[in-house]
């Protein structure tokens, strides 16, 4: 089960993920990113402070948008990942492919600089 909310701060579209993103819930994350894309958002910050767990299904969602976002010049930054969650990104080296920062403030700063 996950709970996804979004808000807009300035030009930044912030998605907050709460709960476990696994094979049963990853579709919701997929829909949330798809919605941002559809709304023509260009600066997307994913707040993972309450993301408790992620499996390959969730990683796959992020990976599936990398190309689209690059082509459309959409900035994606992830922030506030706990140690267990970032560990999963690191196993596959995804922490090198995605922009990941510690805090939401750093996320906002980075997304404006990109």
């Amino acid at each position: 089960m996950i709970n996804l909310t979004h808000k807009i701060e300035g030009a930044i579209y912030i998605i907050s993920v709460v709960g476990d993103v696994d094979a049963s819930s990853s579709i919701q994350l997929d829909n949330a990113l798809g919605q941002a894309l559809e709304d023509n958002q260009t600066k997307i910050l994913v707040d993972c402070s309450k993301l408790n767990y992620i499996s390959s299904a969730g990683l796959g969602v992020f990976m599936s948008y990398i190309q689209d976002f690059e082509n459309k010049n959409i900035k994606l930054v992830l922030c506030n990942l706990n140690e267990k969650v970032i560990g999963v990104f690191r196993i596959l080296g995804l922490d090198q492919l995605l922009k990941i920062v510690d805090t939401i403030e750093e996320g906002k700063k980075l997304i404006d600089e990109l």
Binding site: A23, D30, S55, A57, G87
Partner: protein, 141 residues
Amino acid sequence: MMNYSYKVPCQKEKLKDIRSFVSEALRKHGVPEVQIATMVLAVDEVCANIIIHTYKCDPDEYVEIIIKVDKKLNCVFEISDQGDKFDITQYQEPSMAEIIRNKRKGGIGLILVRKIMDDIELVQKDGHHVCRLTKKLGKES
């Protein structure tokens, strides 16, 4: 050697219960949290694969997990699969570039399992297919 077993219907919503079962069993043996997290992930990936791809989320089918932990904290996970055999040992990993290029949402779970576990094998046991994952923590007793 301690054994734990858990059997659930093939529903994606049960993955969370499977993760709780694995973490609770490993915690009883004092396995470090970092190791618990990765092993929970590996079991979740194999079970998700069986539930979704082998059984197409059929709640009349079951997936069973047996965990064996010895004194040196060597952990064996036996996940029984009675459906069509998917031979993980023959699986060709897609590259990261390929996954991104093709926008594949699947295919990376088994890469994670391989990176986390020391050994993965498919065995036949009592007429069932069993995916056996082994992680040797090798704690000095």
